[in-house]
């Protein structure tokens, strides 16, 4: 017992300030890539290097369409390495979670030069794919109501629908003394019956499809679903194949998408609080 108290006194407080204070992370962290769209001469090397197809180029007549899907990105840094022009660089950004799948997709269209390079940036769009805002005004009002009900205290049931267990490592970390999820009134619970939110990982394997659906149905209303990681959003490295359905929203409706491979604990916190509508309040609290 003496050792326990002695160690506690020596250790002191280790819990981070995030989300109320800025995240303190290593300058070597590889977060999301940033693209300097204007003046980007050639997106092809980056697209070719991308292991998940998060960057695609498409020729349409005299134009080139470049699509960046952060929902597929695994933050590997291959694009920044392959693009010698300096238009792509890796950043420390991790707050990428979005309410709409389309918000994770950026489209840039360029005039195509005769030598195959990109000329002037003609169009730059984001959040326009896949139907825009998934929520009708009524549903949006309902969601605000859910925020009021669940916002201050939330019970989360985690469902591994076929992940590689990388996301689980980071979700488990949320409960350690450093991230201490419970200080925000958020608890990871043992049953969907006790849960307000499902935190779902994995490309959703065919073998977990029914289990995920049953877990969703067992969760009482009002409820929210958060899809975690590149796999949960889009199938990630595994994509869609004979054994996977390729993303959580192919099976159940998703409220928030958290990119990353896996998303670091800060990013998970950000996504969960975004789902609760609590990220907006951060500046007031902080």
């Amino acid at each position: 017992m003496f050792h326990i108290f002695k160690k506690a006194a020596q250790t002191r407080l280790v819990t981070i300030g995030y989300p109320h204070a800025p995240a303190v992370i290593s300058e070597n962290y590889r977060g999301a890539p940033h693209f300097e769209f204007s003046g980007w001469r050639d997106a092809r090397p980056a697209a070719e290097a991308c292991p998940t197809g998060a960057i695609t180029v498409e020729a349409t007549g005299s134009r080139r369409k470049v699509t960046i899907d952060y929902g597929l990105c695994i933050y590997c840094g291959q694009c920044a390495e392959a693009d010698l022009s300096g238009s792509v660089r890796m950043t420390l950004d991790f707050e990428l979670a979005a309410r709409k799948r389309g918000d994770l997709i950026v489209i840039a269209e360029y005039a195509l030069e005769p030598d195959g390079s990109q000329g002037e940036l003609a169009v730059l769009r984001t959040g326009t794919l896949e139907g825009g805002d998934a929520l009708e005004p009524l549903a949006r009002r309902l969601q605000n109501r859910i925020h009021d009900v669940l916002g201050r205290s939330l019970a989360i049931r985690e469902v591994d629908a076929g992940s590689c267990n990388g996301c689980e490592i980071e979700i488990v970390a949320l409960n350690n003394p450093v991230y201490d999820l419970e200080r925000l009134g958020i608890h990871l619970v043992a049953s969907p019956r006790h849960a307000d939110m499902l935190l779902v990982t994995g490309p959703v394997t065919r073998n977990m499809e029914i289990a995920l659906l049953k877990t969703y149905r067992a969760t009482p209303e009002p409820k929210m679903v958060v899809a975690v990681g590149a796999c949960g959003i889009s199938g990630g490295m595994f994509g869609r194949n004979y054994a996977t359905v390729g993303g959580v929203n192919a099976v159940i409706p998703v409220d928030v998408f958290i990119p990353g491979c896996p998303p670091r604990p800060h990013a998970l916190l950000h996504g969960i609080l975004l789902a609760l509508g609590r990220m907006e309040q951060r500046s007031l609290v902080g």
């Binding site: 326990i4 992940s163 595994f238 194949n241």
Partner: protein, 517 residues
């Protein structure tokens, strides 16, 4: 350190520096395999390959190792497509029970004489498909599964109950189904059902360019990202006959040991937590977080992803990164000593862990249990020592082996290995001389095959690859240690009470994703 004398496979055809090859006629497979076992070999893996497009039917490979040889022996046999059957050796070598049934499910090759030929890798309700056959397109959309559900064996007797658990569990763990038969509190029989996370990884490897495939290898089991990435790259390097620079070998060694550190310390916390000692877990999970931040400092990724590549490592370290790593590990050393002082001071914790979940050494040997669980039950095996790779041949280290086989011993192996890992990293850091950390790997010709082996933190990881046209992967066989070790859990829980199942399961801490692929 003493290395193996390389005499066991004398006279066989040496294929490369780490492999000896032999071909055997289908009719002689069983007798040859059994003879090798009698002569002290261990059958590490059995797997198949569809070569019908090359006109060679199917090939089945048997991977052996011997305590007196650092090389692996690969014996293969050819099976005509017209008669898709191969002789099962599972009755004599229970260790390959699941691996043979996998071949049956994925290739449609019948394991003739298998004592339990039911499906394992494809669930019973799946249609009759064989996804690793070359004529099966990966993007086939299967209809909703309406076939028969798996029938668990009935366990009968007065007062015997069956408790079904999973695939969605109460804790944050991966999905699998456990069917316990209990008489009162003690478990009398456990049936496992895995492969809920089967995501077609081996099929996905096929036709993938090698550079891209490294990222897939890192996603086989997230907690072993670097080990799986490294073993894949080793196989590629061996196929390309490329020697990586000394600095790359040493950097890989450091990262492999960091992966061991964060998993082992996390497991120690989880084990004591499962018997109610949450203070221990609070410190252990803090230390795990500490190592994850060291990982990030060195690699930009907490799980050590995106750094290993064929030919070495993609990014070198600045001197200041190396210095910070050294300082961090000194701090970890003293913090870990404090943690173990706290854990050791709790007699009630020790009382719950000792004699719980015993895996007898005889059972461990028969089932071919590897890694931490094997070494806690008398299996004196460690790929780092037995088949040296990276920089493990440069330094001396000890391999802890115990006979007790209970939860406490599996934790003790982890504690010993943490001290060893710290010593290994410190020794390698001291030798980390400047130089290149990457060498170019020339484009690979088609039809080059090689095996890679790494002692992941959990145990022996094997990847066997064959290259196809245009520098792509034709076949990648993945053997995670979890695949060997699940049957050990079934043995270890017998006679224990249901409330002890979580701590027994945690003491093995097997990867569902690595098993299911």
């Amino acid at each position: 350190m003493p290395s193996r004398s390389d005499v066991a496979f004398e006279g066989w055809r040496q294929a490369n520096d780490g492999e000896v090859h032999a071909q055997v006629a289908l009719a002689d497979v069983r007798s040859m395999v059994l003879r090798l076992i009698e002569n002290g070999c261990r059958l590490a893996s059995v797997f198949a390959e569809d070569r019908t497009n090359a006109g060679s039917g199917f090939l089945v490979y048997y991977v052996f190792e011997h305590p007196r040889d650092h090389r692996f022996l690969l014996v293969h046999t050819s099976i005509p497509a017209s008669r898709p059957e191969f002789p099962s050796v599972a009755a004599a070598i229970p260790a390959v029970n699941w691996q043979e049934r996998e071949i049956q499910d994925w290739f449609g090759l019948v394991a003739e004489g298998h004592p339990n030929p039911r499906r394992v890798a494809l669930h019973d309700n799946w249609p009759e498909i064989h996804p690793l056959r070359k004529d099966f397109p990966i993007d086939t959309v299967l209809p909703p599964f309406e076939g028969e559900q798996h029938v668990y064996r009935p366990t009968l007797g007065e007062g015997v109950f069956q408790i079904p658990v999973g695939p969605v569990h109460a804790g944050i763990i991966e999905p699998g189904h456990f069917n316990f038969a209990v008489a009162g509190e003690p478990i009398i029989y456990l049936q496992l059902r895995m492969f809920y996370t089967h995501k077609g990884i081996e099929k996905r490897f096929e036709q993938m360019p090698i550079d891209r495939a490294v990222y897939l290898a890192e996603c086989i089991s997230g907690d072993s990202s670097f080990s799986h990435g490294t073993v894949f790259c080793q196989a590629i390097e061996r196929a390309a006959e490329v020697e990586i620079p000394v600095r790359a070998k040493r950097m890989r060694t450091i990262l492999l040991e960091l992966e061991r550190l964060y998993n082992h310390v996390g497991d120690i916390g989880a084990i004591v937590n499962d018997v109610g000692f949450s203070v221990g877990n609070a410190h252990a999970s803090r230390l795990r977080e500490f190592i994850l931040s060291v990982n990030e400092e060195l690699c930009g990724s907490r799980l050590l992803r995106g750094v290993v590549c064929p030919g070495g490592l993609r990014r070198d370290w600045e001197p200041k990164q190396v210095a910070r790593c050294g300082e961090a590990l000194l701090r970890f050393r003293s913090e870990f000593a404090d943690l173990m002082q706290i854990v050791d001071s709790s007699d009630s914790t020790r009382d719950r862990l000792e004699h719980t979940g015993v895996l007898h050494p005889d059972k461990a040997r028969d089932l071919g249990i590897v890694g931490v669980a094997g070494r806690a039950s008398g299996a004196n095996r460690d790929v780092r020592r037995d088949h040296p790779y990276a920089a493990y041949d440069e330094i001396a280290f000890e391999v802890p082996v115990y006979q007790e086989g209970d939860v406490f011993t599996r934790m003790r192996v982890r504690v010993d290995e943490i001290w060893q890992a710290l010593a290994i990293i410190e020794a390698i850091l001291a030798r980390l001389t400047p130089g290149s950390c990457r060498v170019a790997v020339p484009p690979l010709q088609p039809d080059r095959a090689a095996l890679g082996a790494v002692e992941g933190w959990r145990g022996e990881i094997l990847h066997w690859i064959r290259t196809g046209p245009q520098g792509r992967i034709e076949r990648c066989k993945i053997k995670d240690p979890s695949l060997n070790n699940w049957p050990a859990l079934v043995e270890a829980v017998q006679g224990n009470i249901v409330p002890d199942f979580p701590v027994i399961n945690k003491s093995f801490n097997l990867s569902y994703s690595g098993t299911d692929r």
